[in-house]
Symmetry: C2
Subunit: 213 residues, 2 copies
């Protein structure tokens, strides 16, 4: 028989999982807004961000209620506290998607990303939605294979990020400093997005198995 | 008479406060390493970072023990959970100082920052140590005046950051794209450092007074 604690914990994990999925979708949409460039889509991402922030607040409230009502100890306590930290990571992932959408809007009708580096961002956007989905699966299932997928996706983003910086520092870069700065910051937003997913997966798997993901 | 809970909570707050002070010092030293450039100092900052990370882990452990032993509810529970979130913000502040030191080391013996923008970073480094000290004071005293000082310092860093970006995007920038990208990322690290201090102060004051700092 499931206890009230187990039901409340499942609901908490499901909510953090939903946030992960939304953060991934938000980054993917922000990427399309950036590359379009698509002002309407950028503004939608910016408006929709508030819903993820509210989910984060609700998640923390749910965790606090659970702590107060059930006073869990040992592993159960750690799971609830981890969920709050996971929600904070996802909150930050969503904020990074917001940053991408904000740059897309600020540069419109110009595209912030020169054509020759656009494919890097297309690929990072594609990976971001995967990261969101894998993070959701890790949170809900605690499946170490999904955590491995996140590390794999993070490596792919790190490689794109590193390659982009090589392009930026090349003498052949002919788009000027302003575009270079935009590309560098944007690339860093995707890198940080992936870092937060890795951190979350590491925390979930450590919590579930006692070993580092 | 003080309860065991109050003693444990004071120790927890003092530990988070100590972390704040160390993060500020770390950013100030990283700034000196950057502008020297001073390879030895950069390496010291990188080595010393581990101690702050360990304090973060110990702080979280202390909070978990407090939750498990005392099972606080209502305001007390929120204070403990806030302390864990504050520790996470300070951990990130220290990581940003580490990033500055890492760029200083990577560019050595060259200075990553061209002479004409160095004063911006001198000033941001000076403010960073103030931010660390004010954050420590806010955590320990919950004094709203100290939180106001943090917002003031954050505004000053935002202004320097924004001004630096104007300089970067000016046609007169003559240090090339690679230096521009370094300056943009470095400036963002200081901006984020200040953001985390603001977030921490906001959380402490809201927790103490129920109103937003």
């Amino acid at each position: 028989m499931r206890t009230a604690y187990q039901n409340e914990l499942s609901a908490l994990l499901a909510q953090v999982g939903d946030m992960c999925g939304l953060a991934g979708v938000s980054m993917e949409r922000a990427t399309r807004a950036l590359l379009g460039p698509d002002l309407t889509l950028a503004e939608e991402v910016i408006t929709d961000h508030e819903a993820i922030v509210e989910m984060g607040v609700a998640t923390e409230e749910r965790a606090l209620v659970l702590l107060a009502r059930q006073a869990p100890v040992a592993g159960d306590l750690r799971t609830v506290v981890s969920s709050m930290k996971n929600a904070a990571d996802v909150d930050r992932m969503a904020a990074l998607a917001l940053h991408v959408a904000t740059i897309a809007r600020r540069r419109h009708p110009r595209c912030a990303v020169p054509d020759d580096v656009a494919p890097y961002f297309t690929e990072m956007g594609r990976i971001a939605v995967d990261l969101g989905n894998s993070a959701r699966d890790v949170v809900v299932s605690r499946d170490p294979r999904k955590a491995a997928q996140i590390r794999h996706d993070d490596d792919a983003i790190d490689e794109l990020h590193s390659h982009l910086f090589t392009v930026l520092k090349d003498q052949e870069w002919r788009h000027g400093v302003a575009a270079g700065v935009d590309v560098a910051l944007l690339s860093r937003y995707y890198e940080r997005f992936a870092d937060h997913a890795v951190e979350l997966a590491r925390r979930v798997i450590y919590q579930a198995t006692g070993s580092v993901a």
